[in-house]
Symmetry: C2
Subunit: 350 residues, 2 copies
């Protein structure tokens, strides 16, 4: 009972104490200031002293504490990247591109994934503020993120989706033009009943892709049939069920434009389920080229966004913003390709 753990500390204590600049300085028999100058290369240091300090640092395995440096300098070398869903290869590629670009410029990447939820998005943004990242690249799901970040003085770049066009840098593709081109390919082949599967039609990418689709229909003199515009949200299951219903009717469309890769997957599975031949019974085109589209037979004709380039360009833009905070907001538009594969043909009977 009287025995007290504090009398005989059984734990061996901190086995490794991380070397600090003080340890380096002592080993090199100089002051902390001189050691710092030798290591950072700022200010005068005699050549002999410099090499002594460097040798000591090497010997001790000294790695400067980035958090302490940040605290002192009020400059961070991390950037935050916030995407909707890492499991979607579009976002994974985007993150990979952002990570590569960050590293090339000496930054580390803090990555978060908000599952497309506004609440999680806000939580991630707060974590980024707490960590005092140098800036944030985000595929936003609301306007709130960039507003919040701006209020805290953290520059942000919107990628893919754009909610604050006039106040925030952005990196996007020309969704409208691409959607129009790919839809015109269908009208050009004689399709008149063209369905659009889309997440929603009011915001950013969804709105623009919808407009592009409409523009192509208008140009071909086709009246829009609202029952062919399916807003089926963000998950495969919903798209699959909606596609099942639509494709299993007499008045089914002769072509389907899926406005992103998730919806395309739902459509593809549904078509397989009801045993429709692609492209014989129905042509399919997609926005977002992901790996499976080139693996299936026939391959899926798709608008290929270079997601990695979106990510790396966003980081480049962010770093430019950091070095020139006062410039007016800029938007980079990344070109897209339409990859022709076998999923498109003229409608039957033409």
């Amino acid at each position: 009972m009287a025995q007290d753990a504090t009398d005989t500390p059984s734990a061996p204590g901190p086995v490794v104490r991380r070397a600090t600049i003080k340890d380096v300085a002592e080993m090199a028999a100089v002051s902390r200031s001189t050691a710092s100058r030798a290591l950072t290369g700022r200010g005068y240091v005699a050549e002999g002293v410099r090499s002594r300090v460097l040798a000591a640092a090497e010997k001790l395995g000294y790695v400067p504490d980035a958090t302490a440096r940040h605290l002192k300098q009020q400059v961070s070398l991390s950037i935050g990247v916030l995407v909707s869903d890492l499991r979607n290869s579009f976002y994974a590629e985007l993150a990979a591109g952002a990570g590569r670009a960050s590293r090339e410029h000496g930054y580390s990447m803090m990555l978060a994934d908000d599952g497309g939820l506004v609440d999680d998005e806000a939580g991630a943004a707060e974590a980024f503020v707490a960590l005092r990242v140098a800036g944030v690249v985000v595929t936003p799901v609301s306007r709130a993120v960039t507003d919040y970040l701006r209020r805290h003085g953290i520059p942000a770049v919107e990628v893919d989706r754009q909610f604050a066009p006039d106040e925030c840098d952005a990196v996007v593709v020309d969704n409208r033009a691409a959607a129009r081109r790919v839809t015109e390919q269908l009208t050009g082949l004689g399709h008149r009943r063209i369905a659009l599967f889309i997440d929603e039609t009011d915001w950013t990418t969804g709105r623009d892709r919808y407009w592009g689709y409409r523009a192509a229909l208008d140009a071909a003199g086709i009246q829009e049939d609202p029952s062919y515009v399916v807003s089926s949200g963000w998950d495969i299951e919903t798209a699959y069920n909606a596609a099942l219903r639509l494709l299993d009717t007499a008045s089914r469309p002769t072509a389907v434009f899926a406005a992103n890769n998730v919806l395309a997957e739902g459509v593809w599975r549904a078509a397989a389920q009801v045993k429709l031949d692609i492209p014989g019974d129905v042509s399919v085109v997609s926005f977002d080229d992901v790996p499976w589209m080139s693996m299936v037979t026939p391959g899926v004709t798709a608008v290929a966004q270079d997601a990695a380039t979106l990510g790396s360009t966003a980081v480049d833009r962010l770093l430019r913003r950091i070095s020139a905070p006062a410039e007016p907001p800029a938007v980079d538009v990344i070109p897209v390709d339409i990859i022709q594969r076998g999923s498109v043909a003229p409608p039957r009977g033409t």
Copy 2:
């Protein structure tokens, strides 16, 4: 010439000065210490004072600086995650799982991607040390990472591949048993000429999967034919070319086991190229289930590792290690599923 920028500072200066705890304290008319107690909930604070402080913090949009807190407390709330290739959906899922688990425990995730290169792996590890992360989850490509991290007192968990079995926690699957089961399925159907496509056969996952394959052959009384074991590295192109050569011969195998999803893709493309019917001419099984395998026709029978669970389990284990540094290293083995699809059939003529 005599004009001096410091006389008339033209820049508007820091437009937003981030609120610090000092600002909060002043607004609430208390000392920094009291404000800290009120905000962290440690120590005595009168109820009235507490609410005054909280109101001030709210009003100022105060977000505590995680780097400063870390510096003082010498405890970090970030964990590092290092994967080989974010573009590979296996790693992307793993990262997503790790990110989710981190966030659930209040940690942020620093993510890096080393492209499978030992040099980049070392660079990323150094960045993690500099940032003083609480721990690291890594899909290692060499033993060096975990050694390096240990030397700096940072706990690490190896996932997927395991290089330091006795010194480091790990989260893996039973590669050998899974490879054996899936190969036995082929021998059970009467296949005798079974090719193995594999990255390499000397280390960790490659070695274990190779052993599993061998064990299944041995059990079926099949002599291994070295020309059927193709070590084709880590890229699709190489695997594709190797598969082309192997499949386009008279003595081609009747079944192929691809030991990861990249190799499976190469094999799949090659089979399509030489117009082999799957499973009629050749059966195909894969290690790693990725999205395209369920999209193609026939679907690819595959060993499905739950990558997200690998990632989240690794984070759980890491956090347990952080709270109990002295315990002996532990290994979690995550169960796998074999997903039966249509790519497997008995060899022709049986």
